[in-house]
């Protein structure tokens, strides 16, 4: 549905209801069938969610669970502190994101260098990507945050924040470089051949022909990784930084109540869903601009 762009219309709903979300163009749906499908979908949805809600709220210990996880008073009281602590996550995310975009692209280009001379560089880049994707990011955050300042080298910062940025950058660059690489490889070889035949150097070809096309194609998976990064900023809490998740843990322990985590969930939903919509919109706009071209 999303690739059609534009505002939501009943056609979308009807198509979704009647056909499990796959709408093929060309066939018109008779009005009667469409209304019937929509009604069935509506009733089915209400029944399914109704049963779930009924089962949960009639569970023997629901009142205790409700109080421990959905306490309105604690939710409201925690909200300002949770939102304030989220500032640290935003700072982490914004700085890391810029570094990741740059470092990931460099890695992808290094991995794609042709010729036997560059074999050691390709090998190193490959090992890097493998290792940083294999090891859980939390471990890098721990090691970077405690070990490097622990070395006691004069002049390096002791504050854990820069090390948290560094660890997130290193881990996510490995993922992002693979996304870039897929984009670069998806650009048809004739593009490079044409650019080189016009007299562009290898670097110019990358800069003006390959990378712009590659990046445009991988915007959705890139944004996907950045939503992951937004959420993984909470891992930095292990370094003692009082960011959103750590603040929630502090509030949780103060009242022996888990509701502050609901505040955290809501903050992330508020931030993440617009990013996802923005991605869809960007892609749709891009498709619109290039419609009628070689695609």
């Amino acid at each position: 549905m999303s690739i059609t762009g534009g505002p939501l219309d009943t056609g979308d709903l009807i198509g979704l209801a009647g056909r499990g979300g796959h709408r093929r163009s060309g066939r018109r749906i008779p009005p009667g069938e469409a209304v019937r499908s929509t009604l069935i979908a509506l009733v089915s949805t209400i029944v399914v969610f109704g049963v779930i809600v009924a089962v949960v709220t009639n569970a023997p210990n629901w009142p205790a669970v409700q109080k421990a996880f959905f306490d309105g008073e604690i939710f409201a009281r925690s909200w300002p502190k949770i939102v304030e602590a989220f500032g640290t996550n935003i700072a982490l995310f914004l700085i890391a994101e810029v570094l990741i975009l740059i470092f990931g692209l460099i890695l992808a280009i290094l991995r794609g260098l042709p010729g036997p001379v560059f074999f050691p560089i390709r090998l190193l880049a490959t090992i890097y990507v493998d290792v940083f994707r294999a090891v859980p990011g939390l471990l890098f955050i721990y090691v970077f945050g405690f070990a490097i300042p622990g070395l006691g080298i004069a002049g390096i910062p002791v504050d854990p924040f820069p090390y948290a940025v560094l660890a997130l950058t290193f881990v996510y660059s490995a993922y992002v470089s693979e996304v870039y690489r897929a984009g670069i490889e998806s650009v048809h070889w004739s593009q490079e051949a044409a650019a080189r035949s016009l007299g562009l150097s290898r670097f110019q070809t990358l800069r003006y022909v390959i990378v712009p096309q590659a990046v445009r194609r991988v915007i959705p998976p890139l944004l996907n990784d950045f939503i992951g990064l937004q959420k993984d900023t909470v891992l930095v809490s292990v370094l003692g930084v009082v960011e959103i998740f750590r603040e929630a843990q502090i509030l949780k322990s103060a009242a022996f109540n888990f509701t502050p985590f609901l505040d955290v969930a809501l903050v992330f939903i508020i931030v993440t869903i617009p990013v996802a919509r923005l991605t869809d919109w960007l892609v749709a706009r891009d498709r619109g601009r290039h419609a009628g071209g070689i695609r």
Partner: protein, 319 residues
């Protein structure tokens, strides 16, 4: 997919709002309910003022227990000294650093004294690992009582039963001897330094509420991580309870010193450790009666003296 997302988002929000709105109306009711319950009303200074339960209600055979005939006690693992100890170096699996089953260490000894008062022989006490969060998570508790250096707070007592206090504690600051913080004498001297403590502890609250330093405090996952932060000079001062401070300076961090302790006036407001029980547990009154008995016959006092260093041996930070 767009419409599916929209409708599921609307449903999600609706469910959350519904869950919260009903919860929102309940706190007043539950608050008054817990105020009426003996656990929340009890204060640390005096033994529980509520009517002592009859001996029969606390007889071993009439108690509702997790495992019949056994007292199941929970605490976290590692079980830290000086609350739990391994004097001879041999610990029962899975316990680390301290072994609750040997009755050594302040809480180990207190637990067995308490069990004895409740009518349980040493062999009838079963220890299980209960991480801090699990001790207050809703649902059926795996333990009868949880003894894990949990400080009493009225808010916490709304989620679980918390017994009368068995130890009144002071918070304190540990720093490296070479750090400028080591010379601090008053709260005003502390402001410019950076502090850290374990997340969710009253030690962390001390940073925010008592010290209120100019740079925000660090909240570590565990005391061990906070010690790593101290060693890496990410913090100048580690805030821990005084018994832990003695252990940290003696065994965990070389060239460290107790800068001082905070000594608030004794009384009902003084911070104290409580035994954690399931909300409205029938055992709570029995535990309070037993703690009162341990206080009045001097047992608790001698256990405290045996396992915890004298508070007077650490300097007091002046307000």
């Amino acid at each position: 997919m767009r419409s599916a997302l929209k409708s599921s988002a609307v449903l999600l929000v609706a469910i959350v709002v519904a869950a919260c709105s009903t919860a929102g109306s309940s706190p007043s009711a539950s608050a008054s309910a817990s105020a009426a319950s003996p656990s929340a009303a009890a204060s640390s200074a005096a033994p529980s003022a509520t009517a002592s339960p009859t001996a029969d209600a606390c007889a071993k055979d009439t108690l509702t227990l997790t495992t019949a005939g056994k007292l199941t006690i929970g605490t976290d693992n590692p079980a830290y000294p000086p609350y739990f100890q391994i004097p001879d170096g041999t610990a029962t699996a899975p316990w680390e650093l301290g072994d609750p089953t040997n009755g050594q260490g302040f809480e180990g000894a207190f637990a067995y004294a308490l069990a004895d008062r409740l009518g349980f022989a040493k062999a009838d006490v079963t220890w299980i690992v209960v991480p801090f969060d699990n001790s207050f998570a809703p649902g059926v508790k795996k333990f009868d009582i949880d003894i894990n250096q949990v400080s009493f707070k009225p808010e916490r007592a709304q989620a679980v039963d918390m017994s009368d206090g068995y130890y009144t504690l002071n918070q304190s600051i540990v720093a490296l001897k070479a750090n400028g913080l080591a010379a601090a004498k008053t709260v005003a001297d502390l402001k410019a330094f950076k502090f850290g403590a374990q997340t969710g502890t009253t030690s962390y609250d001390t940073i925010t509420n008592v010290i209120a330093p100019t740079s925000p405090g660090m909240a570590y996952t565990s005391n061990d991580d906070a010690i790593a932060g101290l060693k890496a000079k990410q913090i100048d001062g580690l805030v821990v309870d005084l018994p832990t401070a003695f252990f940290v300076t003696a065994a965990q961090v070389e060239n460290s010193v107790i800068v001082g302790q905070f000594a608030p006036p004794a009384g009902a407001d003084a911070e104290h450790f409580s035994v954690v029980l399931a909300k409205d547990s029938p055992l709570t009154d029995c535990v309070n009666t037993a703690i009162a008995a341990l206080k009045s016959d001097g047992t608790l006092d001698s256990i405290t003296k045996e396992w915890l260093a004298d508070k007077a041996s650490a300097p007091v930070i002046q307000p």
